[in-house]
Symmetry: C2
Subunit: 128 residues, 2 copies
Amino acid sequence: MTKYEKQIYEIVNSSQSHLTAEQVFSELKKVYPAVSQATVYNNLNKLYGAGRIRRVSVEGSPDRYDRTVKHDHLVCRRCGRLTDVCLEDLTDSLKRQLGGEFFSYDLKIFYICPECREKEAQNPARQQ
Amino acid sequence: MTKYEKQIYEIVNSSQSHLTAEQVFSELKKVYPAVSQATVYNNLNKLYGAGRIRRVSVEGSPDRYDRTVKHDHLVCRRCGRLTDVCLEDLTDSLKRQLGGEFFSYDLKIFYICPECREKEAQNPARQQ
DNA sequence: AATAAATTTAGAATAATTCTAAAAAGAGAA
DNA sequence: TTCTCTTTTTAGAATTATTCTAAATTTATT
């Protein structure tokens, strides 16, 4: 583990907020101002490949990197914002249904976040 | 609904295989050879916004467009291939846990597909 | 120290998607 | 019809996210 890999792991795992590669990059620059973008991508891929961080893709926005600690995501269909939520674990149920092992699962729930719902209530015309 | 929108809807909804925008484009060109790429993106976004097709994002590969008919996805951690699978419906359970309504949910299960497992068994060195 | 292997770097390249502004197509209303 | 208005399409440029490349640097091994 290089110092960069270690630091990137720290950044992702101590953040509550599923960072984009760009955001990890700017956090890392606070510690190592000369680091390059490619190093961030290299190490995020390495950590993800090793299962030490989670990668979450959201339709229409860059991938995010997240702690591996079990949790699910609410995704706003209007603004795309991600919110953590902790729901009943599905591992056993999925194992039973699939009849075999798997790495992990990713559950996203699409909704309208309170902010966007508020906006739409004020201006119903722009509703989709 | 324009002829393009209608045709794109048909293409996505009659395919079994979560097409990329690129793939939808080449299907559409079979019917309307002069159509442009932007039309495909415009209409996919429109149909998705209206909830008439599903959009599935997979880490590290372009978004895919899919029938809205309820099903879940297995994602191979090695080759990225998507496979449809039909698991127990979570709607009621999620409503209860979240205490409210939502649009839809998306469940992806990460595993190693039979082909990649086979390859790894033959050449264990390259295992990650 | 010398050699080899892995990592980092800057910048170019690629890929997916959106944007732009003009052209074309539809859809009423006169 | 013809005029006007709105929507959609188009080609190509622009943007964004990410990967690739090849040289330089760092780390590990002999």
